[in-house]
Amino acid sequence: MAEEKNKNALPDSSRRRFVLVGMSSLALVGVGSAIAGYEYLSPNVLYEPSPVVNAGKPDGYPADSVSLDPQSGIYLVHASEGFYALASICTHLGCMTAWKPELSMIACPCHGSRFTREGVKIAGPAPRPLPWLRVWMSDEGELMVDRSTIVVPKTYVRV
């Protein structure tokens, strides 16, 4: 009886091999599932608004004015040098800033950062100035702003 058992028993090396193949397969499945899980969790299509915004005719912006469009999160500034756009999202933690005409400053309500109307930081925890966004005139004579393209400061659009 004992002899028969020994005959049926697998040799040690083949058991070792089985465990090795089994464990490597499990590890492979684990890595694959992690990658597939990551891919599943990052959306492939986003139904977010387009980064390009039509800001309308330049006549709508009086000279020496700062206009905030809270919907798109941009300031359109009509300075003496020309038009430019600033992102209104605070560079600290993403709150919506506001133009304070009485102070001639852009101020963030969340943690007190302040900027000039050129986006330069005056005070507060914000680590960077407000970025300047690409502005151009469409063929229809309307101001267009691309919120996803940052340009160097002092890039004015003359009408």
């Binding site: 969790l41 990052s42 977010e48």
Partner: protein, 244 residues
């Protein structure tokens, strides 16, 4: 003649089919009552009566569990009137507050229990820390407790977004931008958490699923291990010899 013959009920066939230990007042029977119940078997069958006094624990762990049970019991009914979608979430919250019968009671109880749970978890941890109850052999259970603290905070954070009002929106905007500060993977983490670049419909749905399914299940699993480890690590901490 007693109206309710408890001893007879406990000897009945139906009772005995449910509770296997049966009646009896021997130590063995009393131990079996605990040991053979799926919920109670997490706990010790015997305990020093002194550790059940108010002084050693202030019952802070048990109170935390009670606040969690209240949160589940109020949160599930709230789910019946709440749609986690951008056009409906805010008005559903307002309906719960002003239209649904007992809605205001359930919502406020859920809110206050959430505040209480965060407070109690911290109090429990301070109590454990200052008594030295985190020391070996209980150090692993302290680790489990740290993860339970994190789950409690994440539950609060994800629940914060669900009313979908200005406070919720900006709090989660700020909070998810803090997550972006993690080196290298911060931006990706925020993207996965929100399911997009801004706090929007995807973020609301993800926070809802985290708040109502994933985090509570994780909490229940860890709480079970937490209680079971109390027994395995020698019961509630009795204090040092010099404290007795």
């Amino acid at each position: 003649m007693p109206v309710l013959d408890l001893p007879k009920i406990r000897e009945s066939k139906v009772w005995r089919s449910i509770f296997r230990s049966g009646s009896g007042s021997s130590n063995l029977h009393r131990a079996q009552v605990i040991q053979q119940n799926v919920f109670l078997h997490l706990f010790s069958v015997k305990m020093r009566s002194r550790v059940l006094d108010f002084r050693p624990t202030w019952y802070l762990g048990a109170l935390t569990l009670i606040s969690f049970v209240v949160l589940v019991a109020t949160g599930v009914p709230l789910m019946l009137y709440y749609h986690p979608s951008v056009p409906q979430a805010y008005s559903d919250m307002k309906d719960l507050q002003f239209v649904v019968s007992s809605g205001m009671f359930l919502r406020n109880l859920h809110r206050w229990s959430a505040h209480a749970m965060v407070l109690l978890v911290f109090a429990h941890m301070f109590k454990v820390f200052y008594r030295g109850a985190y020391r070996p052999p209980r150090e692993f259970n302290w680790g489990i407790g740290v993860f339970l603290l994190l789950i409690t905070l994440l539950l609060s954070y994800t629940g914060y977004l669900l009313p979908w009002d200005q406070l919720a929106f900006w709090a989660v905007t700020v909070g998810s931008n803090i997550a972006r500060a993690v080196p290298l993977i911060g931006g990706k983490m925020r993207f996965l958490l929100l399911g997009g670049h801004t706090v929007n419909a995807n973020a609301l749905l993800r926070f809802y699923v985290l708040h109502c399914v994933i985090l509570p299940l994780a909490a229940v699993a860890l709480v079970s291990i937490h209680f079971w480890r109390i027994r395995k690590d020698g019961g509630l901490y009795p204090g040092r010899e010099s404290d007795k």
